[in-house]
Amino acid sequence: MYLYIEGGDLIQDERTDEEQYELFMERINNGEKIEPNDWMPDDYRNALIRLISMHGMSEIMGALPEKEWTPKAPSLKRKLAIMAKVQDEMGHGQLLLRVAEDLQKPNGISRKEMMEGLLDGKIKFHNVFHMKTKSWADAAIIAWLVDGAAIITQTNMLNASYGPYQRALQRICAEEVFHAQHGEALVMALANGTKEQRDMLQEALSRWWESLVMFFGPPTPKVTGSSRQDIMIKYKIRVNNNEELRQAFFDKYIPRIKALGLELPDKTIAFNEETNEWTYEQPDWEQFKQTINNNGPRSKARLKLRQIAYDNGSWVRRALAHQPEAVV
């Protein structure tokens, strides 16, 4: 169990911060898991709060573009599969927000402030979920490649040093397997379909490619002005840096994309046998920065949707907050 107890950490502890830190690093390097009321350096706590809040909110905001296509899914079977997928995503968001909320407790922050943080831009969400969706092929590309990119970053953290996050990721990754297969199924049907379907798929891929490349974040902090990659690797929250993850994505997905007869809009992309790396055209990182600061094509509209719903739900929360015990 991992509950925060008020004042629990104030029990007489004669260790200095330095000694605590050494002990902490020893635990991390031994592969031990840190729990919510364990001592942790501020930069560790803050890095986790930022990472996990963003991860949680991305799952929740990510349900919105998918939702645009859920009712439109062109068969009963596909409707069911997408409904299952978005429901999973809301579930993942819930698990992750709980982890972030527990970390934020000492700061007096709860779900209410988290939701407000999303709506006023303090808590960010992944660039891909700020993008427009145009056709059914977008639903297919999102399910296959956006989820694919997410699986790569998530599996990279399956041994994260922070216990609650690591356990949440175990659950999440187990469910991602069917998402990956669902994505493949949608794409395969289009790739093997009519000319219109194939063209629709190619068009969607060409439109989404740059966002997918940028999903992993800039290779260096210079671009967006900050990066916590190094801290997270030092603290064993993740194994690889942004560029390594992007390369892993290319490794796994470029061959598959080509196998389906699709073309990448980046004509320069090529695998260099000597360096064992893909070389590719750098995407527009300035645009990336704009996007995650809620200036993307659909950022404001989607946040507005959430804001309206949040406000509309106010009377419900007020109503039930009056009853500590249910009257049944």
Partner: protein, 273 residues
Amino acid sequence: MSNEIIKTAEEARQNPAYKAALVELLYQFADDDLIISFRGSEWLGLAPHIEEDVAFSSITQNTMGHATMFFGLLEELGEGDSDTLAHERTAGARRSSTYLEKVNGPGSYIGEPDYDWALAVVRNFLYESLKRIKLEAATNSSYEPLRQIARKALLEQTYHLAHWRLWIEQLQDSTIEAKGKIRMRLEEASREFGDALSLGSKAEEIHRFNLLIDEETLKNRWLEKVNGVLKEKFDSIPKMVLGDGRRGEYNEDLEQAIGIFTEVYMSDTEAVW
């Protein structure tokens, strides 16, 4: 005929009158679940809190699964492919209740949806109460395949009813504001829910062939069931001012819904998706 069990679609097809009544009933089941699930899917991400979003979307998914099972029965009876039935029938051919077809509120689910949780709670509670009664009755249907599907659906539906029942119990006993909103939606339902309780033009045959219980019994059971939970009770069977969906009547709300959920399918009905 009334105590006979019809075991297969083959057998059912041998009696045209039986088959016609059965098919009519199955369309009602399938179309109700399809449309309420569609309206539920528009709520994703907009519920009063995230945990409720997870629960509600799960119910929505289950319900689409039930619709799929009913369409499967219709397919076996020779009505056509499930996807064709779900997507290609016109608004007038649908047999869902006009109350269940109502929009969740002004605004599109992609644009600026202005949905009312009180409507969601009242509509779903009244519907799941009805569905429970219909499914239980269906477990005694003369049509064996329907008995089996009903039994399966009941396993999940128990949770659905419990979920919405809890919401209405808690809201109706909370703030004045909440009571007011629930009351408003219940009053609205007393004018509009009526066609859900109807078994349509073949109600007499449905009862005679023992496919389900008769309409009177259905209505009374439903009234008793919901009034057992509600503090502000219905004093009579609801009316159907929006029209009788069981007889193919419909409004633009249904057309809006069909337009959305068939958009991709209709772009190429021959394609494999």
